[in-house]
Every structure is written in C-alpha cells, then in structure tokens.
C-alpha cells in the first residue's frame, strides 16, 4: 500500500491552568480553531446521577453563538465516551466529573480540537487516566488526496471528512466520526496518517507538561 506518510498539521498550541475556578483547564489552538476546556471534579454528585462503582462524567459543549443543538449533543456523547475509556473512573466512585468545552473560534477540525483540549484539561486536573488521547481530522478532497487538520474552507471542498481519536499507548482508534462516503482503502490510509500525526501531538503534550513543571523541577 503506497501511503504518503507526512501529515501536515497547522501550527498548534496550548496553555494549561488558564482558569482559576475549575480544577483543571486548558486552551487548545489549531490554526485558527480554538477551544477552551474546563474540568471540575471529583466533586459531589447528584443522587439521581450517582453510579455506585465509578465517577459520573458529564460533557457540555458551548457553541460560540446560540444554544447547543442536536449536533453538539452527538459530539458530547462521542467525547464523553472517549474520555470515559481513558479515565480510571473506578478510582473515584460516587463522584461527578464535569468537562466544559467552550468554542472560541471554529476554523475546521473542531471535533479534533475539542478532544485535544479535553485531554489537556484532564491532564491538568490530575485525574487518573490509563492513557492519553488526541483527535485528528482528515479530509479527502475530490482528487482523493488526504488533507490532515483541514480548515473550514478545505472541509467544504472535501468529499469526505473523518475524525479519529487515537490513544497514546497502542496508537489504536478510540473514536471515529465520519461524514461523506469513502472506500475502505481510503479509511485505512486515513487511520495510518492519523496515527502518524498523533506522534507529533503526543510529543507536544509531553513538552507542554514539561514546560509547566520546569519551575519546580
């Protein structure tokens, strides 16, 4: 299989511990797309939502304008289940974890940016996790080329759009959300490209955390 393995990501950056009130917070910027994430917890849980053997995770997406719609609900579900798989929530039974994702600006690859911001915020909150995860969006344009981390313009011109969450331990696919039709070969290529791109993001996670702890080393 001839695969072009040189994913190009837009310049990305992040800052942890940006907010004073939440227990963990992070901003994540990919090109012009920017998301702010805040985590509260482990905190007291409502009796109706209490789970006896693990923590209850709630994910809330706040769009830039207007109220959250059905699309946001579906994305909340994807992000929640991804975080649940990464978190060791059995270590904090009968407590609540709340993750709030605020869109600052959307210029494509928003779901991937949500995931990256969420992961950085969870790291910042110091919640126990079995692995990290990152989000990567791939667009397949009309010529069949794969573009990683597309902008809104590139998303519009694309024939298919695939977003994956990759885990840091085995580099496998944790979450997948797609739009448009594509062949099996294209899917496997996109997964391979995303896995490659995830290396860069995980290295970035490590560098940012190192930078954060450099003061007290």
């Amino acid at each position: 299989m001839e695969v072009e393995l040189c994913p190009i990501l837009r310049s990305f950056g992040s800052e942890q511990n940006v907010l004073s009130r939440p227990d963990g917070s992070a901003s994540f910027v990919q090109g012009d797309t920017s998301v702010l994430a805040g985590v509260y917890g482990p905190a007291e849980v409502k009796v109706s939502k209490e789970i006896y053997d693990r923590a209850t995770l709630e994910v809330v997406i706040q769009p830039k304008v207007g109220l959250p719609s059905v699309r946001e609900r579906a994305r909340e579900q994807c992000i929640r289940e991804t975080c649940e798989a990464a978190l060791l929530s059995t270590l904090h039974p009968r407590s609540s974890l709340t993750l709030i994702l605020q869109v600052v600006h959307d210029d494509g690859s928003l779901l991937a940016c949500y995931l990256n911001a969420a992961c950085m915020a969870l790291i910042d909150a110091g919640l126990p996790m079995s692995s990290l995860f990152c989000g990567i969006t791939c667009a397949i344009n009309t010529e069949g080329q794969i573009i990683t981390d597309p902008s809104v313009q590139q998303e519009k011109e694309s024939r298919a759009l695939l977003t994956f969450a990759i885990d840091s331990v085995e580099r496998k696919v944790m979450m997948s959300s797609t739009k448009g039709s594509f062949s099996v070969k294209e899917l496997q290529q996109c997964i391979a490209v995303s896995q490659k791109a995830s290396e860069e993001i995980f290295q970035f996670y490590r560098d940012s955390v190192k930078r954060r702890y450099s003061k007290i080393m």
Binding site: R73, R80, A85, M174, V184
Partner: protein, 277 residues
C-alpha cells in the same frame, strides 16, 4: 442457578459464553438476530416500514410536505429525520423531551442520509427557488432490545423505497401548485446504505448485533454503514476501548456481507408486496 448467576455477575455470565464462541441467546459471535420487515404498514403515511431485529422493533413513517426551498440551496428539497424513544419501548427512557440517546440517534440518521446520498436532494425540487418536497422521516422505537441504529437505517431505507409522492406541477398562469393525487411516483433511491453494529467485550472480543444487555456490558460500540458498492458511508465509534486497523477491517468485511443480506431482504419484501397487488 443460571438465572441467579446472570443477575449477580452479568459480565462473568456473558464471558463464560463468549469463551465458547457463542452467546447466551444461542447465536455465534458474528451472527445477527432474525430480521423481519413489513412494508406499508401505516396507511396515512406516504411511505412506511416496520423492522424487527430480534426483539428490537422500529417503525418508520414518511410524510411528504410541500415547502419553499431554503435560500442557500434553492435547487434542492430537504429531509428531516427524527428518532423517538418513547417510555413504551424500555424502562430506561423517561417521558419528556428527547434524551441523549434519542438525539444521538437522530443525528446519526441525519448524517447517514447526508453522507450516503440515499436520495439526491435535487430530485425533491419541483420548481427552483419556489417549491420542493420536504420528507419528514419519523422513526419510532416500539421495543428496545439493543442495536437501534441498524433497525433505524433498515426502516428508513425500506420506507423511502415504499414512499409514493403525488405528481405536482406549477400552473404557469396562476402560479399555484396543482397536485395530481391520481398519479403517484416512487422516490428515486440513489444509494442503499445498511448499518451494522458491533460491540466490543473486554477490549478484545467483537460481537455483532448486540442486545440491550450486551450493549450495557460492552466496553465499546461501533456502527459501520456501507452502501451497495461497498463504499463506507459512516464509521461511527463514539469512544470506548480502542481498536486496531485490522480489527476494524474485520468489522467492515462483516458489514459488507450484512449489506447483501439486508438488500436481499428488502428486495424480497418489495417483490411480495407488489405480487399481492
């Protein structure tokens, strides 16, 4: 004894079956439950279908209405899907506004319609910028026993194939729409998408067509939507334990096979309905 074991340790109970490559209801790991289809069950709808996958029962009704096209797409009509999970179908759903599961399912059906091009939206246009069809696809679950998404997509596709719309012309002089109820046309179905759901047990064992109980115990769920040309329309995996590319490939291969089975089923039922007339 077995019943007690099942209640006390449901996960262990399932594991002991999976170890033997079978499931508590007697199925193999890669086996779907018996799927039945009934077309045209609602007389008042323009198209309808009832699907049963095991105990899971889903009914889809299509209501076509005339409306003005949206400003950004004057040459196409639109399709509005909605999935309803009433308290009737399972004790886990409460009355009131749609819960997260219903909203996620509605979004999933909308995404499948969008991604697969099941109907070309241009075909729904009657007069550019003036008049078009809106298809309200209401999907309701009557009995919830897992694998809702597969049932929804089969019901939707069968109902769309069953739908007949009256012919509409625009009178040039009065500029009003005239509907000819005598002359009915079928919708042009562009693609035939089929969904196949998988659930992952203990991060490793993959089973198809999970029941509600299996869904609750599994560590990840995944739905693959393919069309008749074996292209993927959707790979929906909302989190859960991670899967390698090879495992995904196995699931896709199974989904392609399932597409053939479902197409055969729909064709057979369509034929039998025609024969009766």
């Amino acid at each position: 004894m077995a019943a007690g074991f099942k209640t006390a340790e449901p996960l262990e109970y399932h594991r002991s079956f999976l170890k033997e490559n079978c499931r508590p209801d007697g199925r193999e790991l890669g086996e779907f439950r018996a799927t039945t289809l009934n077309i045209g069950s609602i007389n008042t709808a323009d198209g309808s279908a009832l699907v049963k996958i095991g105990n899971t029962t889903v009914i889809c009704g299509i209501k076509a209405e005339l409306a003005a096209p949206t400003v950004d797409a004057p040459e196409s009509g639109y399709i509005v899907p909605n999935v309803d999970l009433p308290p009737l179908c399972s004790s886990r759903f409460r009355p009131g506004p749609p819960g997260e599961k219903a909203q996620a399912a509605s979004q999933f059906v909308a995404d499948v319609i969008e991604s697969s091009d099941v109907i070309q939206k241009k075909d729904l246009c009657i007069e550019k910028g003036k008049l078009c069809w809106v298809l309200y696809c209401d999907i309701m679950c009557l009995d919830y026993d897992g694998n809702l998404l597969d049932a929804c997509i089969i019901a939707l596709l069968a109902a769309l194939k069953n739908a007949q719309l009256p012919e509409v012309t625009i009178n040039k002089e009065t500029d009003l729409a005239e509907v000819d109820f005598q002359k009915k046309n079928r919708l042009k179905i562009n693609r035939h998408p089929t969904a196949s759901s998988f659930s992952v047990f203990d991060d490793s064992v993959i089973i198809v067509d999970p029941t509600a109980e299996e869904e609750g115990l599994s560590t990840a769920l995944m739905t693959v939507v393919t069309d008749e040309e074996d292209r993927l329309c959707m790979l929906h995996k909302p989190g859960g334990s991670s899967l390698s590319g090879e495992k995904l490939q196995d699931c896709i291969n199974r989904a392609v096979m399932r597409n053939r089975e479902v197409s055969k089923l729909i064709d057979k039922v369509m034929e039998s309905v025609k024969a009766k007339k």
